[in-house]
């Protein structure tokens, strides 16, 4: 069983806690001048997505999670599962809605996603940081209207809704930051 000592703790390290794989978000070293040292660690449970804080006695070891991140191509969904493929080995994986989380609203077939595999199965799927998606619906608005500044909602081809500037029209392709869910720019035609 691989283990990590608290001195190896850093953001991104994956541990097993109470039977679930977790990833370290933040690791803080806490120690009174004359007393016991601790590591106060903020973690995300990779199965449930829940964030928790746990305190370890410094110097102790914790079981490592047998987790790896792989870049996989998104193939399609049958509504219950989302299917991915490793473009080198052609091995296929299916992720459930829990593993997909929010990601479903950003990805299109052939997009490459970072898929976290635990014991060989996807437990988390991350969309690319930036995606280009077409606007399928938005209020046409008034031409030349630059007032308001707050923009308007636009529905994208994947179903996601983002706030966009008033000049954006149906059929435009937009670059969107999937981490914040915010409009970045209009995408240039390839």
């Amino acid at each position: 069983m691989a283990t990590y000592n608290t001195n190896e703790f850093r953001g991104g390290l994956k541990l097993m806690l109470d039977g679930d794989p977790c990833v370290i978000i933040e690791n803080e070293f806490v120690k009174p001048g004359k007393g016991q040292a601790f590591n106060r660690v903020k973690l995300r449970n990779l199965k449930t997505g829940r964030v928790l804080e746990k305190t370890f006695k410094s110097g102790e070891s914790v079981e490592a999670a047998d987790v790896m991140d792989r870049d996989l191509a998104y193939l399609y969904t049958d509504g219950e599962f989302w299917y991915f493929m490793d473009n080198e080995s052609f091995e296929q994986y299916q992720a459930d809605a829990n593993a997909m989380g929010d990601t479903t609203k950003w990805i299109k077939e052939q997009d490459t996603c970072m898929v976290t595999l635990w014991n060989g199965s996807p437990i988390a799927v991350e969309a690319p940081n930036f995606v280009v998606l077409e606007v399928t619906d938005t209020d046409p608005g008034l031409k030349g209207d630059t007032s308001g500044g707050g923009g308007k909602p636009a529905t994208l081809e994947t179903g996601a809704v983002v706030r966009v500037p008033l000049f954006v029209q149906i059929g435009d392709k937009l670059k969107v930051d999937t981490r914040s869910g915010e409009y970045v720019s209009r995408a240039k035609d390839e």
Binding site: R10, E28, F29, V30, K31, P32, G33, K34, G35, Q36, A37, F38, R40, L52, E53, K54, T55, F56, K57, S58, E60, V62
Partner: protein, 329 residues
């Protein structure tokens, strides 16, 4: 602890912060000059080291005349033992402004090498020294109205956690942590003082000094191996700490001057080191001889000046007040 980007040669502290640091050092020296306290310098490399199981040395080795097989030297975790020898030699009130070293400590509030201010006042008790420390901090941060409050270690536990730190057993500490939703490793093995440290740093410390300087006094005797026991309650020692904005800034004692008692405490701590698998430390015989010769009754305190600067400038990471922290070496 800040992670350095590759090729980042720059200091962690801004030039303005370095100027504030220089001002802090100047004002410290002016403060003690006005009060007639003598500045001293003692070795950073010592042959012995404190026995406190919570403090580990960074070590070095001298090879040269007189030491054909080499001599292990420890970078000092504080100048305390050397300064006590000066006090026994009749120095009178002394202060030292310099560096101290602790192995294994790195984080937002820790760097293995840090700036320490330590001073000793013959004839002072803990209360007088707390007053002087408060005056110094007010001076350093240029705020004569900074509020000062005092409370005892025990009263904090009673107030925040409804538990008596001097009497409760380990099982009650565990229950207390659990009832407050503190998630711990299942097999966390802590002794009494370990549990107290955990509860203190998780539930009490963050709120200490929110509106000014907070002194915490009368620590459990088991957490004060260099302090004198309180005559009114032998379960506690005349040890105090200073907190500001949730940050531990200073630690002080009425100094134990009894050589025999000190020797027993060193031995006891070395036993604890041995049972927990740590290397016992060579006991400082020169310090014990100095105490035997006679050290004046005094109180002493050590202040982490990097942290004072952090609090003054509202900086969250010690890397921001140091030219080059561990991650930038």
């Amino acid at each position: 602890m800040t992670k350095r980007h590759l090729n980042d040669w720059r200091p962690g502290a801004s030039i303005d912060t370095l100027k504030a640091r220089a001002r802090l050092l100047e004002r410290t020296r002016a403060f003690f000059r006005e009060r007639g306290v003598l500045e001293v310098e003692t070795p950073l490399l010592g042959a012995s080291f404190g026995t406190d199981p919570a403090i580990e040395p960074l070590t070095s080795e001298f090879n040269g005349p007189g030491y054909p097989k080499g001599k292990q030297l420890n970078l000092q975790s504080s100048p305390e033992f050397f300064m006590k020898r000066l006090l026994a030699a009749g120095s009178g009130a002394i202060y030292q402004l310099g560096k101290a070293f602790r192995n294994g400590e790195a984080g937002r509030r820790h760097n293995p090498e840090f700036t320490i201010l330590e001073w000793y006042r013959p004839g002072f008790d803990a209360a007088q020294l707390m007053d002087e420390l408060a005056a110094l901090i007010r001076d350093l941060v240029d705020d004569q109205t900074l509020a000062v409050e005092r409370c005892s270690y025990r009263s904090l536990f009673v107030e925040h956690l409804a538990i008596d730190p001097l009497e409760a057993d380990i099982e009650s500490f565990r229950r207390c942590a659990r009832s407050r939703k503190l998630l711990l490793a299942d097999d966390m093995a802590l002794d009494r003082d370990g549990w107290l440290d955990l509860l203190m740093s998780s539930f009490i410390e963050p709120s200490l000094g929110a509106t000014g300087l907070t002194f915490v006094s009368d620590y459990p005797a088991s957490q004060a191996s260099l302090a004198r026991l309180n005559p009114h309650d032998q379960r506690t020692a005349a040890r105090f700490e200073l907190y500001w904005k949730g940050v531990e800034l200073a630690n002080g004692f009425e100094e134990l001057a009894n050589a025999e008692e000190q020797s027993e405490r060193f031995e006891h701590e070395n036993c604890r080191r041995f049972t927990s698998g740590q290397r016992p430390m060579p006991v400082d015989d020169a310090l014990l001889s100095a105490l035997e010769h006679g050290m004046p009754d005094c109180a002493g305190v050590a202040v982490g000046l990097d942290r004072v600067l952090m609090c003054q400038l509202d900086l969250e990471d010690i890397d921001r007040v140091l030219a080059f922290s561990l991650a930038r070496l």
